[in-house]
């Protein structure tokens, strides 16, 4: 597929990427608008940023969202890695079909269904065993782990399949026990995949609105819940400012992560090629 692009394809690429990016760029530009009415230009200003930083409500929501995202990313990475390993490296085991189904379904399940079902679970548990006594931090975190781990598992499965089993088999031939192979060969080589899984789980959690809205309780407002409650009534310049900060932070982090992962992958591939040549 190295043939030159036709004019039509180039046109579609330009149109497509403009469609994807112009709304974001406009969102950022209007955050520097002095006017209170978002789409009417009133000159450059940073007043909405100052106003945003003064809002305690926003800071509380940011802090809550970051805490949930961090814990979620930790658990989701561990559980997702285990799940990916089981699916790719363990061959056939009892319940594999069900397991695979439960790993794919959260990716495509409409959020309203996942959210509603988790809520009724939490309420039934509360009736039965008295836990969770109130909804908020814990319930949101559990809900986020449940769908994030499926995304992590996808990344881990792809990475494991791409890695192949040669090195692991070699280690086993040289007398390493399966557990040793896992800890000293599989996990180190899986590290870049686990890092991208962690990052994805982190952002998925920061981003989630619908499932959080279902399982949250009074007083626990994550950042998306706060943003949603404000923009339901229309455009707000302070939300443009908040959006700009979020978009820039995410874009910078993703670019750095992509760069690191790309380089690491390249170095690893080089090492493996050298090793292969020496033998």
């Amino acid at each position: 597929m190295y043939r030159k692009r036709s004019k039509f394809l180039t046109f579609m690429l330009i149109t497509g990427f403009s469609f994807l990016y112009i709304p974001m760029i406009l969102l950022i530009v209007y955050s520097f608008n002095y006017s209170k009415i978002v789409p009417i230009w009133g000159g450059w200003s940073t007043r909405w940023y100052t106003e945003l930083f003064k809002s305690e409500e926003v800071w509380e929501a940011v802090s809550l969202s970051l805490q949930i995202a961090f814990i979620n990313a930790m658990f989701a990475t561990i559980l997702g890695t285990l799940a990916g390993l089981a699916m790719v490296r363990f061959g056939k085991f009892r319940g594999r079909t069900l397991f695979g189904g439960m790993l794919v379904a959260p990716l495509v399940m409409p959020e309203v269904i996942t959210g509603l079902s988790l809520l009724v679970l939490f309420i039934s548990l509360e009736q039965l065993i008295g836990w969770p006594s109130e909804r908020g931090f814990t319930t949101i975190t559990i809900a986020h782990i449940t769908f994030s781990l499926a995304y992590v598992a996808v990344i881990i499965q792809a990475r494991l399949t791409g890695m192949g089993q040669d090195l692991e088999e070699a280690a086993a031939d040289l007398g390493a026990k399966p557990f040793k192979v896992l800890t000293s060969i599989t996990f180190p080589r899986l590290a870049p995949g686990m890092l991208s899984g962690w990052l994805l789980a982190f952002t998925l959690s920061l981003d989630d609105l619908v499932i959080s809205s279902f399982v949250t309780g009074p007083g626990a407002n994550t950042l998306p819940i706060l943003i949603f409650s404000r923009i339901r009534l229309g455009l707000r310049p302070d939300i443009n400012a908040l959006a700009t900060i979020i978009i820039l932070v995410v874009a910078i982090c993703v670019a750095i992560a992509a760069f690191i992962l790309f380089r690491q992958q390249k170095l690893q591939d080089q090492d493996e090629m050298m090793a292969a040549r020496e033998t």
């Binding site: 974001m24 439960m102 509603l116 988790l118 679970l121």
Partner: protein, 317 residues
């Protein structure tokens, strides 16, 4: 799990016991690796659906939680099981629900087709680019995945509103005198769905096209086929798995979408995700909300199964 013998000096030798436990752990680590995520998903993903099913067969009651019990112990010791299908009958008899389901399907199917027509040439264009440009374009497709979905929808509120960027531009250029109403219409919902779900269409298509063998195209050209014939007889049939995967990834979540119809459609566009949320949050009618969820799930079970089938096949390759 091979070592099942327990020597008598177990209590006298705690170090040996720890050692043995470790050995046992090592030999059964595979089971543990499977069990931890398995139990988590069974408890927090699978079990909840049964509870939703159970509540959908209950009746609204003034209690906490607001529904009747399915299984009751009578004084005489007889267990009574009450299954109430009223909620499902209610959903199918009330034209509001039926209309909303049909409306959701119509909107999500149309959006999927629009995504396919926009996404296909973009994916093809990326595949045809040079190695460096290809990486950059791919990164630019993936980047919106990482930025907030909610904010991407919000961006369109600014573009489409009566005083928004598009109306301002059209008025200043003299095409129109009064703003066209775009926000809070079905048109806005289409734009929102296509905009947010386009990457989900492009990525599976790209992954599929990337694997295609370009020599087939050359062979077709050598045998005298023009580019149009080559596309329809070689490229298009070979990219059907990508088309199916991408379309399902757009269609399934779009059908149950809540945020986009709420923010961009206002009260004017009814979709089932929004109806479900309102039924639950404002009307506090849990049995009906659960029944609505079950019907939505039944609608989407087949597409989801097809998607999983293709995922499994792709993973094996």
């Amino acid at each position: 799990m091979t070592d099942n013998t327990f020597p008598n000096d177990l209590t006298k030798n705690p170090r040996g016991m720890i050692q043995r436990a470790l050995n046992k752990l090592q030999s059964s680590w595979r089971t543990i690796v499977i069990l931890i995520p398995f139990i988590w998903l069974s408890l927090f993903f699978l079990a909840p659906f049964f509870i939703v099913g159970k509540i959908s067969l209950a009746e609204l009651a003034i209690s906490s939680p607001p529904f009747t019990k399915m299984i009751e112990w009578k004084d005489s010791g007889i267990i009574t099981i009450r299954l109430i299908f009223d909620n499902f009958i209610y959903i199918f008899e009330d034209p509001l629900y039926l209309r909303t389901y049909m409306n959701s399907l119509r909107i999500s199917i149309t959006s999927t087709i629009i995504c396919l027509f926009i996404g296909y040439p973009i994916a093809y264009g990326i595949v045809r680019s040079g190695p460096v440009v290809k990486k950059l374009l791919l990164f630019a497709i993936i980047l919106p995945f990482w930025t907030s979905f909610l904010l991407r929808v919000y961006a369109w509120m600014g573009l489409l509103s009566d005083q928004g960027t598009i109306n301002n531009l059209l008025i200043s250029m003299g095409f129109i005198d009064d703003p066209i109403k775009m926000l809070y219409t079905e048109f806005a919902v289409f734009v929102g769905i296509v905009y947010t779900y386009l990457p989900f269409m492009i990525l599976p298509l790209y992954a599929n096209m990337e694997k295609l063998d370009s020599t087939l195209n050359e062979a077709a050209a050598d045998l005298g086929a023009g580019p149009v014939v080559t596309f329809f007889r070689i490229t298009l049939p070979l990219t059907i798995p990508g088309i199916i995967a991408g379309s399902l990834l757009v269609f399934i979540p779009a059908t149950g979408e809540y945020v986009i119809p709420d923010l961009l459609g206002g009260g004017n566009v009814q979709m089932i995700g929004r109806l479900l949320y309102n039924e639950f949050a404002r009307n506090v009618d849990w049995p009906v909300a659960c029944a609505v969820a079950i019907v939505l799930l039944l609608l989407l079970v087949l597409p989801m199964a097809i998607y999983q089938h293709y995922q499994g096949k792709a993973a094996e390759e």
